[in-house]
């Protein structure tokens, strides 16, 4: 792995970037740095965000990013790297791929010369790593979608995509955690509530977790939706390690 680059990112942030690839090893390295900094520089750090191949450290007022970068570069070299002991989870997400919830499933199938069932099969048999959350509160960036399902975004984004919608946009698949405009091809919808600002943590999926989609019928969708609404749905979530 190539060494990362370090740069100041405005008045109060330091950015560490690795090579521009989507790769589990590179991401894991960014996560290691994140942990190292949060553990050793908590006094100076406001918060951090890890993406595929970057780590941004937002600093408290008065901390100079250049001085901060100099200090972490020196200390990280000499620090002993321990393997991750963070607890991650495998979360099974029920998804209804039936017509009412999947306005673009037929187009996606047609685009790839597959049947709708084959698309569902390919989409739901994989396990996806949650690299990070971004774009919208609780929106998971997942890797990796089977190349057989890569589908260009729609030319005209929908003004409203319903909360829980599962889509494919280019090489990515994801879930819309709240109603928002969106240009992804919608192939299903989950009855779960993915983001609740009154809960701690506010998102049911966190960076480092894995997700799997489980096909359900419209009837099951309604049943689970009712349980979720009443706060009595038990999320299928088990401890999982890379």
């Amino acid at each position: 792995m190539k060494p990362p680059s370090f740069q100041r990112f405005g008045d109060r942030a330091a950015l560490i970037s690795w090579e521009s690839i989507i790769d589990a090893e590179v991401h894991a390295e960014a996560v290691r740095w994140d942990r190292f900094m949060t553990e050793n520089y908590g006094e100076e750090i406001l918060e951090t965000v890890v993406t595929y191949q970057s780590l941004v450290v937002y600093l408290k007022e008065g901390v100079d990013p250049d001085t901060f970068l100099k200090s972490i570069k020196a200390s990280f070299k000499t620090a002993k790297q321990e393997e991750s002991t963070d607890e991650h989870h495998l979360i099974t997400i029920p998804v209804c791929y039936e017509k009412d919830f999947a306005p673009d499933l037929e187009n996606v199938a047609h685009y790839h010369n597959l049947s709708k069932d084959e698309v569902i099969q390919l989409h739901s048999e994989a396990m996806y790593k949650v690299y990070f959350l971004g774009f919208l509160p609780g929106f998971p960036y997942l890797g990796k979608l089977n190349p057989k399902l890569h589908t260009p975004r729609k030319d005209d984004p929908r003004p409203i995509v319903a909360q829980g919608s599962v889509g494919i946009g280019g090489k990515q698949t994801g879930i819309y955690p709240m109603d928002s405009p969106g240009g992804w091809n919608l192939i299903g919808r989950s009855p779960l509530s993915f983001f609740n600002p009154t809960k701690q943590p506010p998102a049911i999926i966190e960076a480092g977790d894995y997700v799997k989609f489980k096909p359900i019928s419209t009837k099951e969708f309604e049943h689970i939706h009712a349980l979720v609404e009443n706060g009595i749905y038990l999320l299928d979530k088990v401890p999982y390690h890379d």
Binding site: G10, V49, V50, Y52, Y58, F132, Y141, P197
Partner: protein, 281 residues
């Protein structure tokens, strides 16, 4: 309490912002012009982190159901209390049953209204800043009630008024650091950036300002990476987009520049079609 009689163009409640949740994809939000918002709090005798009302170009009509002390800062939107013109940048005693109205925008875009003790709206994820999807509302509507801190009856008006830096509103120069993808700008643009004139597109809001430019350059997409308020993105179709306080936490466009904190505040006061220059610090 403050009753909203009319809402104005875009009025919302904001504080210094919602920190600590960017890893969940939660935008920071907060006052677009933090300099003016903090000043409003100081004038009303508040701590800087209290919530204020952010008013945009066309002000609301507000009815006060209790005595309080307010201060208005930022844009001068010709405010009048009970029909009498009042000044920005000074504390003002507001008796119960007063009506506050706004008129013609004289300078700036965003005006901040603080009330003694701070606006007491809901606090979610550590902040009172309004953002649709996090707080129950995104903007004020006719009929809303805004809770205030009840004040003891003694009428102590902090009688200071302050002089505001004129450059905050008039300076054409907006300062920026080089962004992570600065190298994607053509060499001659890197060198001569300050010779370019940009204008603020009317298609600008709390999430992003779009800058019109005479250049026809563009930059390729990048792998989705961190962005923050003040990040200037250059898109593959050649648009210059300055992310503002409600910006998403990650983005896939080239981050060519990063505004200084002071410059974000200044840009927040630039009117549509106003010209600006970008200068590298």
């Amino acid at each position: 309490m403050i009753k909203v009689i009319t809402s104005g163009l875009y009025t919302s409640i904001q504080d210094l912002g919602r920190y600590g949740f960017r890893k969940y994809g939660v935008p920071i939000s907060g006052a677009m012009d933090l300099y003016s918002a903090e000043l409003a709090n100081r004038l009303a005798g508040n701590d800087p982190e209290e919530a204020v009302i952010e008013i945009t170009l066309q002000g609301p009509t507000l009815h006060f159901t209790e005595n309080t002390i307010i201060a208005l800062t930022g844009a001068d939107l010709s405010p009048a209390l009970n029909g009498k013109s009042i000044a920005n940048n000074t504390p003002i005693m507001v008796p119960k049953d007063s009506e506050l109205r706004f008129g013609k925008p004289m300078y700036g875009v965003r005006c901040y209204l603080s009330a003694a003790g701070g606006i007491q709206s809901e606090r979610i994820l550590g902040s009172r800043s309004w953002y649709t999807g996090i707080t129950h509302k995104g903007r004020l509507e006719k009929g809303d009630s805004i809770p205030l801190q009840s004040l003891p009856l003694k009428e102590v008006i902090p009688n200071a008024s302050v002089k505001v830096r004129e450059a905050h509103f008039s300076a054409m120069q907006i300062q920026a650091f080089k962004g992570p993808e600065f190298y994607l700008l053509p060499k001659e643009i890197q060198k001569e950036l300050k010779r370019l004139t940009f204008t603020v597109s009317p298609n600008s809001n709390r999430m992003a300002y779009v800058l019109n430019s005479e250049t026809e350059i563009s930059a390729p997409e990048i792998i989705t990476a961190p962005v923050q308020p003040g990040t200037i993105q250059l898109t593959p179709s050649g648009k210059w987009v300055v992310l503002m306080r409600d910006a998403q936490t990650t983005g896939g466009y080239a981050r060519v520049l990063q505004l200084t904190e002071e410059s974000i505040n200044r840009l927040a006061q630039k009117q549509p079609m106003e010209a600006i220059q970008l200068v590298i610090v």
